[in-house]
Amino acid sequence: MFDELERAIEPGLELGASYVELRGETGFIEYIQMDDGRITALTQRLERGVAVRALVDGAWGFVSTGDLARLEDAVRDACRMARAAAPTRKEPIELAETKTREDRVKSAARRDPRHVEIEEKVAYLKELTRVIRDHDPRIATVTAKLRTASGTKYLVTSEGARIEMPINLVWVYPWVTGKEGTRLSAARNEEASTHQGWEYLEKTATPEAVGIPAARRVVLQLEGVPAKAGTFPCVLGPRVIGVLAHEALGHLAEADLTVNSAFNGKLGQVVAAEGVNMTDDGTDPGNVGTSKYDDEGTPTSRVEIIKDSVLTELMTNREYAAKMGLRPTGNARAESYLYPPIIRMRNTFFERGDHSFDEIFEGIEFGYYCVDFRGGQAQMNASFQVGIQEVFEIVNGELGRPVTDLSISGIATDALFKIEAVSDEDFPWELGRCGKGQEAFVSSGGPSIRFAKGGIMFGGQT
């Protein structure tokens, strides 16, 4: 595909583009859904397409096409789009310098899901359904979803970049409901790898490893007591503190959002309590947000967003790096050839602290320990909300009764100063998807962190 893409660069330059970028993609994608043991979707698809971006007179034009025979027309169309917007700009868009690279990244997958028989995939979902159903008689329904992808993406730019990278995905997601009398509950789980092949589901995300946590959460909700409303001291476990890192802080540190957010103008300032460090690392080996290059061809990196309580770095693409005088961090990501790359997180986490896990519960007379979440959303004024699907009371420093589902919220820029203790534990990564207009596979995490009263609000009963 490289040759087809390279041939289409020249017409863009002839039309006055200062930069032309083509991202080609070929892939085999599968989606299987099983509802209560019945297959409701078993879909295979062959996908190929190209995304064209042209920078003309300081504005972008973008065209996505599945018609590879008319790539030069697509490039001309992208230039026409850019030219329409260019006269309206007060200052032209510029791109930060990066070293031009030619590279071919090989897939690390051992069992390409494309070559795994459908029967084996169906058997996996059947077993996942069985494991969940057998966990408790109160389990009412099980919807199990499986996605796999394998393919290749190609990046060619007018600056000479020529990069080939693999597309890998194995993803599993059970949605489970429970029923006891008239009481209904629901919970989910989600595991994914963007580096391993089918072996990830055979050895790591096995039906037991994926199914039991979801089933357990459903049962806990049926047995849970209602949450109180208001603000309480609390400990957020690794999966919840991870989503807080992502939703409440990570989005504010995406440079395209920072400029309109509560973090605007705060680079170099103390934004958190002592001992707080938060990082986005696109180089963490094997993690779902990890990639050697981003979708502009910039090598990914470790971005120290908060270092020793100070807002230190922002995540950028080449455009915002130039605009804000920052380094390109390799955070430009596109869901597929259907979308232009935008600034996205990769693997976002709080660094470990120096308190033992038991210490951070000490002295809490009444509070909550939040273990797992179901969705979250941030706003530009630093307001965040995270739905919680597994939570326990803390009474006199000890774990108490399970609590039925609720959500927590707060103002991130305030909450960061209410952090009292960061544990030193190793933590598991929470693997999921972020939706900023496009889907991106991301991970997040952190050690358990304790917040003083006033940091986190609990949306319970008034």
Binding site: G49, I118, K179, S185, N260, P340, N381, I411
Partner: protein, 453 residues
């Protein structure tokens, strides 16, 4: 492939190929779409984008075993490859004893006008840019400090066709134009939330002034900080706010599949009162001007109007063909196909809330102490089975003695949607046209509110 009749021929070809490869039943939906969009960053047009493509979803049955495939290559060769994948998947799939049949031909389709606008279909990049420039200009002049943070405009044209083994064949086309403004402004608390407003219709004759005015008026209030207290209070909700709560709770519960699978809390409540008497909600796939209005659903079944709640009484659920067959009822034309995933689901079309008699300002003016919530955060984390929600109102405005005072930061709304439905105090008279709903603002008389102390 911009000709829907050519798309229909491809669909019929796919069905015939499926039978040749061993399918006993087959259906195909093909859609060509072309979207032109301009987007704004930092108050300037950043990019103009065009996304064009054809997607073809093929679903086949071998006996009672189902398989499906998707291709974006709209040629006979591309379709043959996809049909082979679908049939081979069906042959190793599991048997579904509940599968009865694909839809049968319908005697008539509704007559729906206004789905197509030449202004949207032929829109030029320069025209879209011009609309956005006007939007940004009016917006920045409307309120001090206003920054258009996420704004843009665009137009989509789509051509769709469907055919199945039972002789159902159908094609239609339509357009959608949209303009949106999401803006922030500096405030005493640092920065306001993004305040969003938009206008969607079939053409590109957008009402820019109304969009700008709604954003500017709300931002002006957000610049003023107010404090609230926790408790049960009257809350006036913008249709965008309660619409999101209902989308993730009530509207999940009226899906036929949720009812049959025992996932709906109101699955056994047909004919019972589940809401206040002044609430009437319909699903209307033929509503003039509705953004999800079509002649047929994604299985070629005619769209229709289905009354869900009539003056507080639950009257109907919504169905696609599979779940209707299983429940022994008729499809309500509510099948939605995710083309790339091959999944056919039960989904609402245009949710229509019947307007009341008085306008929103008159209703709000009678609130002694309460709140106006223009938008919410986190509705998607609600519990779709129990109906419990726990979300943030943002922006949430304190209302005192009938006047909007200022923004209450971090206000949470908690409760259960089925309790909320019983506390509809009054429905305003002016419907808002949203993406999947035509709905006025509603005053809920008693809502659990949690505020920062």
């Amino acid at each position: 492939m911009e000709d829907e009749k050519q798309l229909l021929e491809l669909c019929k070809f796919a069905v015939s190929q499926a039978h040749e490869y061993g399918a006993t039943k087959a259906e195909t939906q093909a859609q060509f779409s072309s979207e032109l969009e301009g987007s704004v960053e930092l108050g300037q047009i950043s990019s103009v984008n065009r996304q064009t493509g054809t997607g073809i979803a093929i679903r086949v049955f071998v006996g009672k075993q189902m398989g499906s495939a998707f291709t974006n290559i709209p040629t006979q060769d591309g379709i043959r490859d996809a049909v082979r994948l679908a049939v081979s998947a069906a042959k190793v799939s599991t048997e579904d004893p509940d599968f009865v049949d694909l839809p049968l031909p319908s005697s008539s389709y509704p007559s729906v006008d206004g789905l197509w606008s030449d202004s949207a279909a032929g829109v030029d990049p320069g025209e879209v840019v011009g609309q956005i420039v006007q939007l940004v200009k009016e917006a920045t002049q409307s309120e001090a400090g206003l920054v258009p943070a996420m704004s843009g405009a665009g137009a989509v044209e789509y051509h769709t066709a469907y055919a199945n083994s039972n002789g159902v064949d159908h094609w239609e086309r339509g357009t959608v134009g949209y303009i949106y403004l999401g803006a922030v402004a500096p405030s005493g608390e640092g920065m306001t939330p993004i305040v969003l407003s938009f206008d969607v219709k079939r053409g590109v004759d957008y009402d820019i002034s109304s969009v700008v005015q709604e954003v500017a008026d709300t931002l002006r209030l957000c610049k003023v900080s107010a404090s609230g207290e926790s408790g049960k209070f009257p809350v006036m909700m913008h249709a965008m706010a309660y619409g999101q709560i209902m989308q993730h709770t009530l509207l999940e519960s009226i899906r036929g599949d949720s009812v049959v699978r025992g996932k709906s809390r109101i699955g056994d409540k047909l004919g019972e009162t589940i809401a206040a008497e002044n609430l009437t909600i319909s699903d209307d796939g033929t509503y003039p001007g509705g953004m999800n209005t079509r002649v047929a659903d994604d299985e070629g079944v005619p769209r229709r109007r289905t009354t869900i709640i009539d003056h507080g009484v639950l009257r109907s659920f919504i169905w696609d063909t599979y779940w209707a067959n299983k429940a022994g009822v008729a499809s309500t034309g509510n099948a939605r196909r995710q083309l790339r995933r091959g999944l056919v689901e039960v989904a609402t079309t245009n949710v229509v809330v019947e307007p009341g008699r008085r306008n929103a300002e008159d209703i709000l003016s009678e609130i002694k102490h309460g709140f106006f919530v223009q938008n919410v955060q986190g509705a998607h984390s609600s519990n779709p089975q129990s109906g419990d929600f726990s979300i943030v109102g943002n922006p949430a405005i304190l209302v005192r003695d009938g006047e909007m005072v200022g923004q209450v930061h971090g206000l949470m709304l908690t409760g259960n949607v089925f309790d909320l439905l019983k506390h509809v105090g009054e429905v305003a008279s002016e419907p808002r046209f949203l993406e999947g709903a035509i709905a006025p603002d509603i005053l809920f008389t008693e809502v659990n509110v949690v505020c920062r102390q």
